[in-house]
Amino acid sequence: MDDRLKKALDFSNFRQTVNIQRKNLKEKLQAKLTYGHAGGIFYIDRSLISFVQLCIDQGRTSGVPLLDSNDNPIIIEDLLKFKDEIFDRYFSAAFEYSNEYEALKKSRTVEKLLNL
């Protein structure tokens, strides 16, 4: 095989591995940001966090109806506690994702990618 083609195919294999690892990291992040509370299933994202903080800023902290990921209305009895929980989850998952993503970016071989 032409050496140039072999190098290109090797690099292609490496890039493919990176892309698959990245996709799987994203899926893991999504799973970690899924939060069951009071019978609802919430996906913790920036808009949920912002809306919850807005409600708190407006003085609504108990008996607040929130729509979960399935648009089911869920009454949150203690919104301050709810906010603390989603904050903790978000940052714990996001930091983990960030660390693994950085390690992925720095890896230059398939072997290193797989040792993450």
Partner: protein, 286 residues
């Protein structure tokens, strides 16, 4: 509410479902921290004793419930990387889980579904009484076909009975009874819903039952998360604590293999023989 995981295992000559269920049960118990029950049959229990995994099974499973092994003519293609064989497929009694489960809230999983995270714990308290996975995600990302997404090319969306969670009450009893009715009249429903009836699939029966009970409409809400899936051509290369190294490919040639690592994420490993070949490594983690 008492909650727990249930796994079915009926051995065939080709596949050691008993061994797989011990691995899947052990991982579920470890990562979800709930009891696990095995539904099996006399001959499979005998095999567990012969193969010296019965003691391990007794430690892992809260209950080992013996039922009559279903008689089946069901055959399916067992793909193991670059080879494949037709094997008997004993899956006809899955809907009886409603009757036999000792739990009020049950997570039913396939014996090739390896729970390596606590993600499914978020769903125990969900208001929905019946939840099933709405889709599968290919571990590689580009190998899903039309029939992985719908019961036929013009049919309703396909749900995946790899993971099913339900509360045991009259409402969910209707769904499980309907799955049995669909199984018993599979050809009729194949005509109605335009799918291939050659193999009885729980995925299809559960999809139809959920569709019918929901007023002949697809319920786009209240699903369990998509099932991350390594297909039959993929191989488990190594096993570590909540971490699998997989060799995945898109071609029937070893030249196209790409490696990947799945860590802290539940995964459906369709290559059953690959789980069995790595059984010692899995067992050492339990």
């Amino acid at each position: 509410m008492k909650k727990g995981v249930v796994i079915f295992a009926h051995n065939s000559r080709q596949i050691d479902y008993a061994l797989m269920s011990v691995i899947a049960g052990g991982l579920a118990k470890k990562n979800l921290n709930v009891p696990v029950t095995l539904i099996t049959d006399e001959s499979t229990v005998e095999w567990m004793k012969i193969s010296k995994i019965h003691n391990k099974a007794k430690k892992i499973f809260e209950n080992i419930i013996e039922v009559k092994k279903p008689v089946t003519n069901n055959q399916r293609l067992l793909i193991d990387t670059y080879s494949s064989t037709m094997v008997p497929f004993v899956n006809a009694n899955r809907a009886t889980v409603w009757d036999v489960t000792p739990y009020e809230r049950t997570l039913l999983i396939d014996s090739d579904f390896l729970i390596m995270s606590n993600s499914l714990s978020e769903y125990w308290e969900a208001d929905s009484k019946f939840m099933i996975s709405s889709s599968i995600n290919d571990v590689r990302g580009d190998r899903m076909g039309v029939l992985d997404k719908a019961v036929s090319d013009t049919g309703i969306p396909l749900s995946w009975a790899t993971t099913v969670m339900f509360t045991k009450d009259k409402e969910t009893k209707v769904i499980f009874d309907l799955v049995e009715h669909i199984r018993d009249n599979y050809g009729h429903y194949a005509d109605l819903y335009n799918f291939n009836p050659a193999i009885f699939r729980n995925d299809i029966a559960f999809s139809l039952a959920a569709h019918i009970v929901n007023g002949f409409e697809y319920n786009s809400h209240n699903h369990l998360p998509p099932v991350l899936t390594a297909i039959g051509r993929d191989l488990i290369h190594d096993v570590d604590d909540n971490k699998l190294t997989l060799l995945i490919n898109d071609e029937f040639t070893e030249d196209a293999v790409v490696a990947t690592v799945i860590k802290d994420k539940d995964i459906h490993v369709m290559n059953k023989q690959s789980i069995v070949r790595n059984a010692n490594k899995f067992m050492s983690l339990l």
